[in-house]
């Protein structure tokens, strides 16, 4: 599975686009639903980090989409069975798409994205935007979990409480998360400046980049270059 994680970021991104295209081009729920189930199974088999959190989100997304689309189509006079099938098809498309990009996001570190971009000699601004866009989201998710642990460690009961209370406490994490996001942005900005990042100069990389991106530096005297 490790090799899947180490795939070049752009290869992963291209695959995710193809999966998304397939999800939106296949006709109806008959093909869409199996495709979405396959994609979720892939996340599970690939031991994608944060899979359980994704699954919760996907279930919530499916329920919301099926409910809202069904009601909407029923109001427009569509028969019940047909309305549910259309709603299921839409939910399946969204699950397949989000699952594909979730895999890309969770298995691509900012360092591996930087390396893939630098190897292609992309302009520094593109490199930066891609690394931050795909790299920051897992980081913020971890911050969100860390704040929850902080609340627990200060005696705030957020586990053995009702769902609405849990939701309220989750929303209360918004302010510290925002503060943390601002601090992270400041740290990144400082780091870019003092470590010589320059929008006018193309970067290089220490990693060997091809179909795979080297994940770890091979420490040895006879290292192959």
């Amino acid at each position: 599975m490790r090799a899947l994680y180490d795939l070049n970021f752009f290869v992963k991104l291209a695959c995710a686009f193809l999966v998304m295209l397939a999800a939106w081009l296949v006709p109806g729920w008959v093909y869409g639903l199996p495709l979405s189930i396959l994609m979720v199974l892939f996340l599970w088999v690939a031991r994608t980090p944060g899979f359980r959190a994704y699954l919760k989100g996907a279930v919530l997304l499916t329920l919301l989409v099926v409910a809202s689309w069904s009601v909407n189509l029923l109001i427009q006079g569509m028969p019940v069975l047909e309305a549910v099938q259309v709603a299921l098809g839409m939910a399946a498309r969204l699950v397949t798409t989000t699952a594909a990009f979730f895999f890309v996001m969770e298995t691509s570190s900012p360092g591996s994205i930087l390396a893939a971009c630098s190897a292609l000699r992309l302009p520094p601004i593109v490199t930066l935007v891609l690394s931050l866009t795909f790299g920051m989201i897992p980081m913020l998710r971890e911050d969100f979990e860390r704040i929850a642990d902080a609340q627990r460690a200060r005696g705030m009961e957020i586990d053995a409480v009702s769902f609405p209370t849990r939701l309220r406490f989750a929303l209360a994490r918004g302010v510290p998360l925002l503060v943390q996001a601002i601090r992270t942005a400041h740290a990144i900005s400082l780091s870019l400046s003092i470590y010589g990042f320059d929008l006018k100069r193309k970067r290089t990389t220490w990693r060997n980049v091809g179909l795979l991106v080297e994940p770890r530096f091979p420490l040895s005297k006879d290292e192959k270059r």
């Binding site: 930087l114 705030m156 957020i158 003092i194």
Partner: protein
């Protein structure tokens, strides 16, 4: 090389952080700037590093800062940061979610250095700084000490003319500190000048040839380190514990019943080699005890308190709190009996004012605030010197003030056990006084304190008993004085505190 004249820096408000400072650093010099927390060290070092006012604006900034004979403000950013490399006091302020190798290579990659040259440099730095075991890991998942070593490696990646290190030994275990000292000594040929700040002068005694003391924003004359180190008065006047200080053991408190019992726990969390982070850990904490916990960086100290609080799952063993089995308790229920104060307090603050933070601690057990809780919270804050900041946002405080807020919250929460993880405020005289106040309050009320620290002098001063965590097990559990001669401590290869005979009992 660097010439600062009449430097004044302020960040709003009446008080200046730095006032009328003159400082010169020549090639070949290694200057140590010592001062208590809040004395202005970080601000001064940020000016030396070109970060203030180049990257971080200061509302009040006056004076001249010349580098290689030119005003620093006129240097292009790339030219400046190629010549001056720096490490922030809080290494997290200049790190982001990169892998270890990515961060070390980052300055070279950004400057377009060829891959082969970057790999050669990586090889040299990882080997020299003994960071090989951390390859492939994300920087933000490392322990505080490990992060700091990686950040130092990044600062050295492209050898600078001037290296600026703000409290580089913070969070490093004694072995890592020695590695850092050896490295700085070896760097003499590669890095022409060094400016380093510390609260604890003894940590870098051997690498500094000159010392300046900073007190309330004013810098003393620069003196040869060898002249200043043996003295007491100048350090005490600057609010710093003298490097040749004597051990001052605290008064003991009568011990009582068990408040925390950890019975042979084994964690689910594993190391890279597959072994559990904690293999078989057991100890007990009794009322009236202050127990020190020491161990190498990455030994599992963080995992231990997370297991105690229920934040990290345990596979085997059990935990009892105040005589009750706590295995089925939620983390929050445990936390209402055990306060944990991390080194970086920002991680556990989430209210909008200091008063709300302390009031939250006071009402966590009952969940119902009474009419007077805000008043009592303000009184508690005043006891720790934070009365004037009661309505400030906790995130706007300095690291030291946040540490004091942590003590106030822990005392306010009326917990049975407090776990203090590397309380850095204890490195200066005022901070030590505040820590003493907290310990007295906890122990006189029949509670217990666990102190996790690499500051062995602090452990020696305040802990009646010491635990040594090694290889996922408690390798020593006994009286602190016996700990320094134990086999487990010898195997760590660390120097014992006050080992040079400078300070047996005062």
């Amino acid at each position: 090389m660097l010439d600062i004249r009449d430097l004044t820096v302020g960040f709003g408000g009446d008080a200046l952080v730095i006032a009328d400072v003159d400082l010169s650093v020549e090639a070949g010099q290694r200057l140590l700037v010592c001062g208590a927390a809040g004395s202005g060290k970080s601000t001064l070092l940020n000016v030396v590093a070109g970060i203030i006012p180049g990257l971080v604006a200061a509302p009040a900034f006056a004076g001249s800062v010349m580098f290689r004979g030119r005003p620093m403000a006129e240097l292009a950013r790339d030219e400046l940061f190629s010549a001056i490399a720096s490490l922030a006091q809080n290494a997290e302020d200049q790190l982001w979610d990169l892998n270890v190798e990515d961060l070390i290579a980052f300055p070279l990659e950004n400057r377009g250095v060829a891959k082969a040259a970057i790999r050669d440099r990586l090889q040299a730095l990882l080997t020299e700084m003994e960071l090989g075991a951390l390859r492939g890991r994300r920087v933000l998942t490392l322990s505080g000490g490990e992060r700091r070593m990686v950040a130092i490696a990044a600062a050295l990646a492209a050898p600078p003319d001037l290296l600026v290190l703000d409290e580089p030994t913070t969070g490093l275990d004694p072995a890592a500190r020695r590695r850092l000292v050896r490295l700085i000594e070896r760097l003499a040929g590669q890095v022409p000048a060094l400016v380093v700040s510390e609260q604890d002068p003894a940590a870098l005694e051997t690498v500094a040839d000159r010392v300046a003391l900073l007190s309330k924003g004013r810098l003393s004359e620069v003196r040869p380190a060898a002249d200043l180190m043996p003295l007491r008065a100048p350090w005490i006047e600057a609010g710093i514990l003298p490097p040749r200080r004597q051990s001052v053991p605290r008064k003991g408190f009568p011990t009582g019943g068990s408040l925390l019992a950890v019975d042979r726990i084994r964690t689910e969390l594993r190391r890279a080699d597959g072994r559990a982070v904690l293999e078989d850990v057991g100890f007990e904490l009794k009322a009236g005890e202050t127990v020190g916990l020491i161990g190498r960086n990455g030994a599992g100290k963080t995992t231990l308190f997370q297991s105690i609080l229920g934040l990290s799952k345990i596979r085997e063993g059990s935990i009892s709190i105040a005589g009750e089995k706590a295995d089925g308790w939620t983390p929050a229920r445990r936390a209402r009996q055990i306060a944990y104060l991390p080194q970086n307090m920002r991680r556990i603050l989430f209210n909008m004012t200091l008063t709300e933070e302390v009031a939250f601690a006071m009402t966590a057990k009952t969940g119902t605030p009474d009419a007077d809780v805000a008043g009592r919270a303000r009184d508690m804050l005043s006891g720790y010197g934070l009365g004037a900041l009661s309505e400030a946002n906790p995130f706007s405080l300095s690291a030291r003030q946040q540490a004091l807020l942590g003590l106030a919250c822990a005392e306010a929460a009326a917990v049975r056990v407090a776990i203090l993880d590397e309380p850095l405020l204890a490195r200066d005289i005022e901070g030590r006084r505040m820590l003493d106040r907290f310990l007295d309050a906890m122990l006189s009320a029949g509670n217990a304190v666990m102190l996790i620290s690499h500051d062995l002098e602090l452990i020696d001063d305040v802990a009646s008993r010491t635990l040594i965590l090694e290889d996922g097990r408690i390798a020593f559990d006994g009286a602190t004085r016996n700990g320094w001669t134990s086999r487990a401590f010898r195997e760590l290869g660390w120097p014992a505190p006050y080992a040079d005979g400078r300070g047996e009992a005062a």
